[in-house]
Each structure stands twice: as C-alpha cells, then as structure tokens.
Symmetry: C2
Subunit: 496 residues, 2 copies
Amino acid sequence: MARIPVESFVLGPAQGATLQRQVQDAVTRGVLAGRMRPGDRMPSSRALARHLGLSRITVTLAYADLVANDYLVSRGRSGTFVSPNAPTPAPVPRAARPARGGVDWSRALGQRFPDPAPLARPADWRRYPYPFIYGQTDQRLFDHGNWRRCALQALGSRDFGPLSEDAYARDDPYLVEQITTRILPRRGIDARPEEVLVTMGAQNALWMAAQVLLTQRRTAVMERPCYPALREILQLGRCIAQEVAVDGGGLPPGQVPEGADVLFVTPSHHCPTGVTMPLARRRALLALAERREMLIVEDDYEFELGFVTPPLPALKSLDRTGRVIYIGSFAKSLFPGLRLGYLVAAEPVIRELRALRGLVLRHVPGHVQRTAAYFLAQGHWDAQVARMTRAFRDRRAAAQAAMDTHGLAPARANAFGGSSFWMRAPEGVRAIDLADRLRARGVLIEPADAFFSDPRPGPFYRLAYSSIASEDIPEGIARIARETARLAGSAQAVWP
Amino acid sequence: MARIPVESFVLGPAQGATLQRQVQDAVTRGVLAGRMRPGDRMPSSRALARHLGLSRITVTLAYADLVANDYLVSRGRSGTFVSPNAPTPAPVPRAARPARGGVDWSRALGQRFPDPAPLARPADWRRYPYPFIYGQTDQRLFDHGNWRRCALQALGSRDFGPLSEDAYARDDPYLVEQITTRILPRRGIDARPEEVLVTMGAQNALWMAAQVLLTQRRTAVMERPCYPALREILQLGRCIAQEVAVDGGGLPPGQVPEGADVLFVTPSHHCPTGVTMPLARRRALLALAERREMLIVEDDYEFELGFVTPPLPALKSLDRTGRVIYIGSFAKSLFPGLRLGYLVAAEPVIRELRALRGLVLRHVPGHVQRTAAYFLAQGHWDAQVARMTRAFRDRRAAAQAAMDTHGLAPARANAFGGSSFWMRAPEGVRAIDLADRLRARGVLIEPADAFFSDPRPGPFYRLAYSSIASEDIPEGIARIARETARLAGSAQAVWP
C-alpha cells in the first residue's frame, strides 16, 4: 500500500492524444506494468499537476475517468487509490527471442504468393503539390460529418446487440435493402436480397468469384490491359488464364477464344483505359456467352462516376439467363479503406460464395455494414456521388484544357468520365522514367506497367484527377508536358 | 417547376429512425425516384407537419438538414425548393427479371463449399430466459461507452486521411504496437512488429495459415474433437487431413502420426473440451516438432479468460526455432462481429500471409483497427478483461454449485476457466434431443456434434455461461438436470 511518488509519472509520446488522456495512459501503463498496485495511493491532483506542468483540472478529469473505469477509487478526503479491481499485470515473463534459422522456410512454406503489385504512389503522396494519383479519397469532397453521424448511430446501444454478433450466415438486411432499392436500380438491375452478397470490397468479390467458378481445367479470360490484382488472382488460381486485348470498345467478342468458361470484363469503362463497351457489343457478348455456355463476371467499378454520358445499362441488366455475376464497390463513392463491396448473382452462386466467405473470414464487420446502410438510407451517398461528379467534371475539363494547351492527349477517348485519363508517353519514353523525373518536381503520375503481363517497362501511365484540386491541374499538366518533351528529346527508340 | 402536394408525402417503415429522419427519407426517396425534380416547390413546413401529424419543428429541422445536404434550397419568403444540385434519379429503367433456368448451376459451378456449420443457437437467442450459448458478447459486461468514444476518436478528421486509404501492404502501426506491447507480453511472447499480421478474426488467420503452409502432398493434424470451421478448412484444402483424439491433457504428442507436417492445436484450453495441455507436454510437443521438422499452428483463443489458474505460457513463448504460428483474437474480449484477430510468426511466413491477404481482401478496415488500438492504448481492454473475468468466475461458481446440487458434472475437468463447460448426456441420450426439449422450456444448450467428424448425433454438449446472468444459472441448470433425467429414464441404449 505504497504512496506513489509524483516522479514516477512521465508522459509518453503524444500520438495525438489530449493531455488528459496522456495522464490516464501514464496511470494505466503503470498499473499494467505492475508498478502501481491495488491499494497504492496516488499523488494529489494538485501535486501531480504541478509536477507535470498541467492545469489541475486536467489531472482531476483524468482521475475521474480512471475512477469511472475502475482503475482508481476515490476515498473522499483520504485521497485517490489504485482500485482493488484494477487489471493485474501480465503474469508471464517474456521469453527470450527464438533462435534464428531453425526452419528452412524456402522448404517449409507450401505456397508462395506474388508481392502485392508495387505501389505506384509514395506513402506521403498527400504532401506532393500535384498528385495525379488514382483511387484515394479526396477529403475535400467526402462528407465526413454525415459519415461520422451515421457511424455513431450504428454504434448506438440499440444496434449493438445484433451488430456485435457473429453473423456469417447473413448480411446486414438493412444494407442489402439499400443496395437492392437504391443502387442497383441505377444500373437497371432488379435483384432480390437473396441474390446479393456483401463483400470486403470488389477485389474480395473477384477473388471469391474466381474460386467458385473456376477449376484447374477451366479457362478464364481477362482483358489486356487488366487490373493487376485480378491477373494475379487468375494466374495463381487453379485455372487456365488467357488474355484478350481490348480495343476502343472494350473486349471484342470475336476475339474470345474457343473453350473459354468465364470472362472477367469491365464494360462500363474498361480498367484502366476507360473505354466504354457499346450497347451492341454488350448484347453480342451476352449472346456469345449463351451460345457457348460461358459465364461473365462484370466489374462495374466507378459506375457512379459516369458523368460525361449517362452510363449504359450494366451487362447484368441485359442478362436474361443469369450468366452474369455483377460486382460493385463503395471504394470510390465512400473510401477504399472501408473495404466494402457487393456481388449480385443467381442464388446457387450466392450460396457457394457465402459458404466460401464463411470459411475464409466469416462476414464483413457489422458496424461497417450498418454505417454504410445509414449513409445510403439518409441520402448522403447520393449527395456524395453528386458532389464528386460535379467536382470531377470540373477537374476533367481543367485537365483537358491544359492538355490541349500543351499538346498532350489521352491515348484512349473516354466518353464515360470516371476519375482518370489513360496516357501514353511518346516513342522511346518509358513511363517509369517520366514518373521518376516528375516526382522530383512535385508531380505524381502512375506508370501502368502493372496492368500488363509483360515484364518490360512500357509507355503507358494513368493520370487521375480524383485527388488533385482543379486549380492545381494546369500547372501539374504543364510540368508533365515539359518533362515529357525533355525525355522525348533525349530518347532513343526503345519501342519496336 | 411544380408545387409538390403534401399528399405525395408518406412516411416509410420506421426502422428505428427518428420522425425527423423519416421526413428526410421521404424527400430523398422522392428526389431519387424522380418524383420531385430540381426547382419543384416543397409544401410549407406548417402544411406538411399538419398532413403528417408531426410537430412543425420536426419538419423544419428535416428541411434544414436537407438544405445542408443540398437536396433542398431555401429561398427565404418564396419557400423551399428542390435544389438544382440535388442528385438525379437513375437514368436506366429496370430490366425485366432474368428468365429462370438459363444456367445449369450443378455443372457451371467449379467448386462447392460445405454449408457453414449449422447454428446451434436460434437467431432470437436473447429472448430465451436461460441462454447457455457460447461466444456472443454479453452487453451487460461490454464497455460500450468507451468503445464508442474510441470509435469516435478514430472517426475524427485527424485520423481520416490514413484510415480511408487502401493500405494492403501494412497494418495500422498503432494497433500492432498495442498487440506487441500490451497483449503478447501477457502470453510470454516477444514479437517485433514485422512478425505480426492483423487478420479478420482467428478463423481468417487459421484459413490463411492453412493456405500458406499446406499442399496436396502435406499432412495436417487436427485435434478430435475440433473447431468445426477448422475441420472444414482442412478437409477442403489441398492437404491430407488427419485427426488425433485429445485426452485430459490435450493432444498427446505420442499419437501424432509419422509424416505429419503441420499440427493445429489449442493448448491453453482445448476447443471445445477446455482441457489444458501441461507444460511438460508442451515442451515434448515442441521437441517433437523440431525433431520431425513439423510446424505448429497454436490457436490461443480465449487466453484472456484463464482465471481459475493463471494461463501457462503460450507454446509460442517456448518456441526457440520459429516453428510456432500463433493466433489470437478479439472475438471474446471485444465482440465477434468486429472480425479482428492477429497472427504472430516468423517473417517469411508473415510475408506470404500478407501477400495472400492482399489478394483475397486487401486489408482489415482501417477504422476497425484504429478503434481497437485506442481501446487498448487507453487501458479499456485490460479493464474489460478484468470485468469479464470477475463475472465469469462468479457464473462458473454458480453453475458448478447448481450442478453439484443436481448431480450433474462436466465431462472434462477444466482447470483453466474460459466461458463454458464440456458436458456429456447420460447413456442413450442424444444431445440434440436434450437441446430440443430444453428449448421448449426456455433453456438453450449447444449440442457438440459439429465438433466431430462422425455423422451420427452424440451425447456431448457445451454449456456456456458467457451470456447468462449468475442469478439465472441455478434455475437453468435445474431444468437441464430435470430434462436429462426424463430423457435418460426413457432412453434406449443407443450408444455402443
């Protein structure tokens, strides 16, 4: 029952915590390390405040919170003491570090996986003045206030019971209702709740679809170029993976090889070039799928950003036989760190996918689902999409104007909109070299080599306007044009 | 530029929403359905309030919020109008429902997955007066207030940037720090951040470990009985799966078959029987693993609930050669719907697991990680564990006393604690029949058939005290004893 000296209090690194919290942390650390024991007497708030150079009210509030959480007890005039119910420190001593080299991991590991596609963006991309980077949320456009309110609502005690449970057999019915009534009708898709599965984003949906639909003897067709993670999924999976090059209208049905079983396509606007598949070609692709008994996995990423012309109906909306498995995501309209998407398919497919998801991860966290459900139900999602669409239209126009001024042009016409242009560096210039040079000048672009299966660096890059303000675009484009011209001037013809 | 009649307003089903929110929803539904168009004039708040039978302030607040979100604009005395910036309705008409029977799914599906283990608990288990069900959070014990505060902190604008990003290459460093400095030392494990992977719960960790460590030619050993999802993972995976029966000290090393490559064990207290592996056996198992070059996957679920005797050091803490892959979870100490766990292993293993996770789901949602990090950092997790431990100790004592009174006894001595007893119905009584009878009497128990690979219903069941109040336990046990006696009286000897 010692008296704890004020000298034993040292505030740790701030980590963005308030002073009150830092005081609390110092106490919990002391208790958990066994330095402060049940019954020990705390310094008076006055003495501790003086020692730490804080106001007394800060320490008083910290003590009050610690009392509320049963770390401390207050015994009126006698003072404040470590609670008899305070958590006890770890009973087990730390073991010595394991000896190195006990296992030959090159033999012990059963399967190896490719490194995730190298990141084209540096971790500190937000510090660059001209970040033409793709797929990250622009905080200036995100309705953070309403998102937080919806999250708070989902965190309320009324929702806590059901959301805290293990719920692998079903998704949040409220979110599924929002998806079927508010989102899918925009794409012309009429789905029942039993035909929807909530996923950890679009990539998780693609991965699961590949597992359920393919076998070692089946052939999957992907577009060329292709979303790198999908290519890795198919190349690793037990299937025969083939590529078909896209043209200005997306995947040409005539090029689909005989014997293909499952096609993975992005008709709304191809990833990454942004070209849109015309309606006639969509119908032709569906007819082909029916004739040859193929299945189609449609990744409708970013459909909500079709602002140049209204998006064509999803393939899934034209599908009369249930051959299309449709994938959507909230990564762009909400944010990618949320990991939330959905998949629409015939019930037998959903059944297998749900069972697979149950084995792999059980379900998407309940609060994540419910927060998004509230955000949708209250109309914030629609407003958010409207706000992004307006901003992206302006940014696209600014980029187009600046490119016109400086004699740059996208490599593919994009009548859809979206959040990026597909660019090609001139003859002899490698996109990675251009990106290196530009980075030193405060400009970030994304070399597109990872979208191709060839190992050799190529000329293509992606110029995204989803994270850069309109007013910064002209100068950014000017710098790209300047560095492009410099590199082209010194380039040798490395392209055949 | 029509005037919108009050009659077009109908409040939808409440779904727990406030009246103000229901008014807002009615407007956003009208806008998104195209019934209310930009420039249309809204009814006055007075008229709409009268029509809906609400107070005028409710409607005024709803309008104000809709103005803030740019669904409406207020033009002073002229009235309130649908904003020119309001989201536009879906441009695409709904497609007709796909024709049925276009695809023969029995042929089209490449892989089938077992139904997730049938739920032993009914969805409305909270309504039963005597729910001896396992693994769900008791809201009376969960520190909901501080969890919500930590979630709010993680949802703040300071954290939003990093947490909103796609971050598949790394986990939240703040959570990893809490795991390595606050949790693992309790288990005697000294791990560097590079040796930790954050997972979607323990099951996700088990699944990933199986993918990375096993191949078609390798042999996995599981305990018998065994966590059902692990058995499904191993039986589906590309490996040879074998069972070894546990005795009163867990998995007997002498029974491990020659040629085993990876052992999946629960030494702290076996799942589901609760027996603890003695220290000598842990050392023998490790020595065997080194001699035969086996790897061990240690699922340390519920370690924080070892309150009868302090938990023995984790296998991982005794491991000198890096052969042990350690799995922990927040499902019990926080809640299962959170889907949060962690895995500790040698760096080469973590590298493959991270790459696999990147392909399958990219990463655990940022806010989920950060909320847990704050909860840990502020000492709430330790306090939570202390609170649960006290409550479970009381409940366990109440259950033991009631069993003594009624002549029931656990089938396995459990010196650990945890949240359940392992029970065996008398000769000739099937646990599913006992559970059926009890359900009609307000008592839920969990037949343990899913823990065995035999198809035949057996006598074992799990009696968990993690979701039932101490004061309800004696009557619940009395009913179990009564129904057990009735069934035993009428039983024929169906066990060999």
